[in-house]
Symmetry: C2
Subunit: 256 residues, 2 copies
DNA sequence: GCCCGGGCTTGATGTTCGTCAATCGGACAG
DNA sequence: CTGTCCGATTGACGAACATCAAGCCCGGGC
């Protein structure tokens, strides 16, 4: 395993605060693997033996029931996933699939659990990361239950624009079929919804989207910081916990 | 604060494993308060200064957007809530309301965060509780995105029956309007859905429900351990983490 | 006893969304 | 270049669901 990769992992909020011993123990039994696109890394219901760290590529988390599938999240580097199952040593509740060829680091789940109880700082980091993931899911559930399809799409586009730097034109990060599944609608309906957003200043050309009248779109979308996390993805803010702390920042960690 | 209450808190998985010092620090600045029904304990978007522990009564967690409300969870004793916001020192993403008169213990969030980094066992317990809550939300999101209203209701009834001891007849734990909101439908539709379940052996009499042909209902509901958590609530299994570990139990915590 | 209010139910109606089917268009192999 | 495949689109239709508007039931207050 290359030092470059090790440093990227060490820089993750999840690992940046732990002792060198802890980090050595965790990475000793770890291995980095490259997977082709479309590989199922983990099937829902299977026991989870590793914490996965996506270093390069794209990974989809999906859930299944009654021959229907839904996308629960789309991950980009650098992200960890199935941390909850590792912490509890439980079966995974969702499947993980590579969307593109991906470099993935696998850390022993047993080692994770052992090391947590020895290194309080690491355990705190795990708790914080879990809390960040939890809050992301609360946002998803509110988004799903409170908004209609068109509103979800409008907010997705607004969020995406901000995360990609704020330019009026940006690219959809995945296939539209997968985006539809993430937004909780069918591909047909996503198509129609995108067409309907033309009235609100949204121009679509293949994967490229241009928002010509942001104010008009926002009046429809009614974005809300308690549902949408508009934090830009730039600048090395990689952990789910850090994303949830924005915009307050770490300085709120006062003792009083 | 009475010793009886202290012991109930100490027995929670979240606190059962921490040192006496940790527990003393946490409970020193804590206070127990009784709230009447319908009290808003916390408004979404407000900073969270306390970890709440519901000792008696019922609490509803709800989310709001655009003048619409949805129930995200209904809590019964003994449960902690808004742990994620406390861990990250962030604003709450949902409101908390008492449904009945409730006894609630409030622990300083700042103390929680301070103590976590000093007591690894406590930090691990927090991480585990967070992981349990996270998995509960994954289940909710899958339930919401993959199933239709009738299926959600059918599975809710099956789960409720098992949690209340497995008898064919049991009582709905809350007002139907709130149940409808939890299930992501309108009260009108819940009424109609309950009526529709008559064909599947479900008899409803006010808050009392009888499942006369469980097999028939299950064929409709298609319950799935990756969505529905059928663990009975009896026998002091109170933490979200413990509920997620079932049915494996703690013996899976092998080092290898 | 009576009235009143709130929760629940029931029916009628419209909107949203999913499904089925056909078509379009670009990517790629032969 | 041409045929094929697959994703995206478009239209027609039906199912699921929300909304609006009664009416019912039951319990509390007068």
């Amino acid at each position: 395993m290359r030092d470059v990769d090790l440093e990227r992992v060490r820089a993750l909020p999840l690992f940046s605060d732990c002792s060198d011993d802890t980090f050595r123990t965790l990475t000793a039994g770890a291995f980095l693997q490259r997977f082709p696109a479309g590989t199922t890394l983990l099937l829902e219901g299977d026991p989870v033996d590793f914490l996965y760290v996506l270093l390069d590529g794209v990974v989809e988390l999906e859930g299944t029931w009654n021959d229907k599938e839904t996308t629960l999240a789309i991950l980009r580097p650098v992200s960890t996933f199935i941390l909850a199952a590792v912490v509890l040593d439980a079966d995974g509740l969702m499947s993980a699939r590579t969307v593109e060829r991906s470099d993935i680091l696998m850390l022993s789940g047993a080692a994770m659990r052992r090391v947590m109880s020895e290194d309080a700082r690491f355990a705190v980091a795990v708790a914080q990361e879990m809390a960040g993931c939890y809050r992301g899911l609360v946002r998803s559930l509110k988004n799903q239950k409170l908004r209609g399809g068109l509103e979800r799409l409008a907010n997705y586009l607004i969020t995406q624009r901000l995360r990609q730097g704020g330019e009026p034109t940006f690219a959809l990060p995945t296939e539209k079929r997968m985006l539809a599944s993430l937004l909780g609608m069918t591909p047909e309906n996503l198509s129609r919804s995108l067409a309907a957003l033309a009235d609100y200043g949204v121009e679509v050309n293949g994967p490229s989207v241009t928002i010509t009248r942001p104010a008009v779109l926002e009046r429809l979308a009614k974005p809300d910081p308690l549902i949408d996390n508009h934090q830009p993805v730039s600048g090395g803010v990689t952990g789910k916990a850090q994303r949830e702390r924005w915009p307050q920042g770490d300085d709120r960690t006062h003792a009083a």
